[in-house]
């Protein structure tokens, strides 16, 4: 399966002509997502599921079904936009609480034996060079923490240029 996580309005997203096949999960913003409260319940109370009951409770499980994750986000200070950040904060149930060292740095062990390709399309009219550099580093670091097998980062000045990326 493929997952698309985006921060666009319904109409803007449809204009991008995303794939409409049954093997694509789309995570979008209905304005109702709740922030992570830092309780670690998804590790030590209800392992694998977030304790907050909203549409984003099962992000960890959904990620485990995917071999490709595509994020479409406004680039905000070299980070993802607040909605995408929120979805990622709610996704740590994908991992285990236990630690492991990779390249002499601590990270979490993976809960699932799953590896996905991570592609991020950042858009924005005036993304600075410094922001691009930050965003590249951020996606790379996320890739390590979330066991992606490959990361790809693209910057777009307009939504129009994201249109052709689905092939």
């Amino acid at each position: 399966m493929k997952m698309i996580i985006h921060d666009l309005g319904q109409e803007e997203f449809t204009v991008l002509e995303p794939p409409s096949t049954g093997d694509t999960i789309v995570i979008s913003d209905h304005g109702k997502i709740r922030p992570c409260i830092g309780c670690f319940g998804c590790w030590i109370k209800t392992p694998g599921v977030c304790i907050i009951k909203d549409d984003y409770q099962s992000m960890g499980e959904l990620l485990s079904k995917c071999d490709e994750i595509i994020i479409i986000s406004r680039c905000v200070y070299g980070s993802y936009s607040p909605f995408i950040r929120n979805v990622l904060d709610r996704s740590i149930s994908y991992l285990l609480p236990y630690f492991v060292q990779k390249n002499d740095e601590t990270h979490h062990q993976n809960r699932y034996n799953n590896y996905f390709k991570l592609t991020v399309h950042f858009y924005g009219e005036d993304i600075t060079k410094a922001e691009e550099k930050t965003a590249q580093a951020l996606v790379k670091a996320n890739g390590i923490n979330f066991y992606s097998e490959e990361e790809c980062v693209c910057f777009h000045q307009s939504l129009e240029s994201i249109k052709g990326v689905w092939q």
Binding site: P35, I44, P47, G60, S64, V76, F99
Partner: protein
């Protein structure tokens, strides 16, 4: 100087961020007027936003979330950028982060994001201090700063406080606890994760479950 002490942890009660802010406060409270904001408890009102625009310095403290800034705080930074558009005075931004993993250097991207935010908001980035092994901080709150596992933190806090007190800038400091990594990892695994899960009636195989 008017200084805003902004707690960006989503934990309403005890948190490692609160511990760090309290430690810093002891070093900068004399001669400065400190105002406290705990954004998850009291989301800033219009009035609070305009107060923030009149500060001499903002101290932002938060935990690292997925190599970046927790979403509820990040939303606030976006709003604050809007409010900052008309401000006249020079405002310095200082930041203290803590992250769960042992290595304080894993905070470096969050500081880059903050610097980019400062750039867009017309604020001046003063200095950052990032500390690893965050979850052991609040539980060590009986140990005096600068001693034992808090030795490196103490050093960093003093430098940060000096720079805040003189409203100047300094190099980014990313530090580990003064405590061996293998011992931290052992304690984290057994006395934190396994012990906490056990309190909820879970066994190791429950923690490992796949859905």
């Amino acid at each position: 100087m008017k200084i805003a002490m902004i707690n960006g942890s989503p934990k309403a009660g005890k948190s490692n961020t609160a511990f760090l802010l309290n430690s810093l406060e002891a070093l900068i409270s004399s001669g400065n007027e400190l105002t406290h904001y705990h954004i998850i408890k009291n989301p800033p009102s219009e009035e609070a936003f305009s107060q923030l625009c009149q500060m001499d310095a903002l101290v932002l403290a938060f935990p690292l979330y997925i190599d970046a800034i927790p979403s509820h705080l990040f939303r606030l930074l976006v709003e604050l950028e809007e409010h900052m558009k008309g401000h006249k005075n020079e405002i310095y931004v200082y930041a203290i982060t803590n992250n769960g993993f042992y290595e304080g250097r894993q905070n470096h991207i969050a500081f880059e994001i903050l610097k980019n935010w400062c750039q867009r908001s017309g604020l001046r980035f003063g200095q950052g201090l990032g500390h690893g092994a965050g979850e052991m901080l609040a539980s060590n709150d009986k140990i005096p700063l600068g001693h034992g596992p808090l030795k490196n933190l103490g050093k960093g806090m003093n430098l940060l406080a000096d720079n805040i007190n003189s409203k100047s800038s300094g190099e980014l400091m990313l530090v580990n606890p003064n405590f061996p990594r293998f011992a931290w990892q052992f304690a984290g695994t057994h006395f934190f994760w396994n012990a906490e899960a056990k309190k909820n009636g879970l066994k190791k195989r429950d923690i490992l479950r796949r859905l």
